[in-house]
Symmetry: C2
Subunit: 166 residues, 2 copies
């Protein structure tokens, strides 16, 4: 376990803005369509997946809880594309990010607690920890990039890791 204790902040659009988008209905641009039988909460994420011959993929990720305390020792980024996660099951989940600079130190990490009605879209190049869920079989729709090129960097946290205070 690393020395740094990471305390998750509530996930809000403002707090997450340096890292990408929060995908949620609250506060979104809303349009009424289909003769009033449907509300469209429009364009909730800047999908950026076409560089270097990329194309969008739709996937489902099924996450399982990690042993606690949850230690953050490595972090990854996708330099060629954004990656969106939207929970299907209405269950809270956690995310850990760092600014899109060099390999982060533990002090540069930030943790967020998302509700089960909040997804995120990581901007290309934003460091993020692989999926962290708290309940078994937590499913997410994931929209990311397929195509040529090396689109995953994984590094150790510089100077030791951190653990999530949950």
């Amino acid at each position: 376990m690393g020395d740094v204790e990471l305390i998750p902040e509530p996930l809000t659009r403002a707090a997450f803005a340096p890292f990408g988008d929060v995908i949620e209905v609250d506060g979104a641009h809303r349009m009424e369509i289909n003769n009033g039988t449907t509300e469209r909460f429009h364009n909730l994420a800047a999908v950026d997946v076409t560089s270097e011959g990329g194309h969008p993929l739709i996937n489902i990720f099924r996450g399982q809880p990690r042993p606690q305390p949850i230690c953050i020792r490595t972090i990854e980024r996708h330099p060629l594309g954004s990656q969106a996660f939207v929970p299907i099951n209405d269950l809270s989940w956690l995310l850990v990010v760092a600014p899109p600079l060099g390999a982060p130190t533990a002090n540069q990490l930030r943790a967020f607690r998302a509700s089960g009605k909040q997804g995120v879209n990581y901007r290309a190049g934003v460091w993020h920890h692989p999926l962290i869920v708290l309940e078994p079989d937590h499913d997410f729709i994931v929209v990311d990039r397929g195509g040529p090129g090396d689109n995953c960097d994984e590094v150790q946290i510089e100077g030791g890791g951190a653990y999530l205070a949950i």
Copy 2:
């Protein structure tokens, strides 16, 4: 109400193949990632949204039930892009489609009943009825096309409508 009674079929990949993809975990290509804490059900839909300067959008649609019997009098298509719907709430829903030809007649319509764990991706140009849900506030992640051009044709069903036998 139209003369033709439409009986929803169970939604399967084989039955829906002429119209697009079924987005579901069952039968999908599965990869273990994140040191075994996540299963990735990979590339579940052929997202096709970049023609004529288009780009992918992620939206949430919130559907409300229609009065019953549900009459199918009009149908629409998006000639410039695919459109994917994945339910967030685990509730059954209905869809009505027709082959990507001229304006369909009622006899060319096909109806499907999807489970709450099944989404679809309509291929570009496939006729489909706007969202049909059976419970209030049924939310879907929708991945479709943004960008220039006229991407929605809506027509009356040729020779009268149909109604859904549910």
